[in-house]
Symmetry: C2
Subunit: 103 residues, 2 copies
């Protein structure tokens, strides 16, 4: 057993809430705050904190605009976010492949 893939996992991405956010954004060009909240069943506060953390890491681009005079916040992966998340998934795949089911 080689513990390196686990050690190399990006802690910022590994956290469950942020991992869920990144994985739904990997499947869409962008999602609104409301769509993320409904998909992930998170509280506004929890989702806001995770989004800010991911934005500060340069992984998420957050755009604030208006639609029908209502404020609209949308999130999308940045190029750096796509690279980091792809690396994370590759390490995770390597980890799953190499780790034996305990017998």
């Amino acid at each position: 057993m080689n513990p390196d893939p686990v050690r190399q996992l990006d802690r910022l991405i590994h956290e469950k809430g942020r991992l869920a956010i990144l994985s739904v954004l990997a499947a869409s060009p962008e999602l609104s705050f409301t769509e993320l909240r409904n998909l992930l069943e998170m509280t506004d506060g929890n989702l806001s904190v995770h989004i800010r953390t991911l934005q500060e890491a340069g992984y998420l681009a957050v755009t604030k605009s208006f639609r029908k005079r209502k404020p609209l916040t949308t999130c999308a992966l940045t190029p750096a976010g796509k690279i980091a998340f792809t690396q994370y998934l590759d390490l995770l795949e390597q980890f799953v492949r190499q780790t034996p089911r305990p017998s």
Copy 2:
């Protein structure tokens, strides 16, 4: 994208340090504290805390004995730990399979 596999991941196992410990123990019937520390390159303090957490969750059995008059601590997965870790790996595999690489 279905966020359920991520949501179901056992938080106790998901933490990187504990994940590394469980994955090396999944590949061995038991390992001593020293073997774990050397394999995982953790500090004594860090490893001790994680082992205690896993023991309290019922996932690890810790045995203290003597070998050549020196104290020897060995760790092994419990049956509950094997079940929990297998479930975790199954969810992780499902997550890796279903999550698209961002394009």
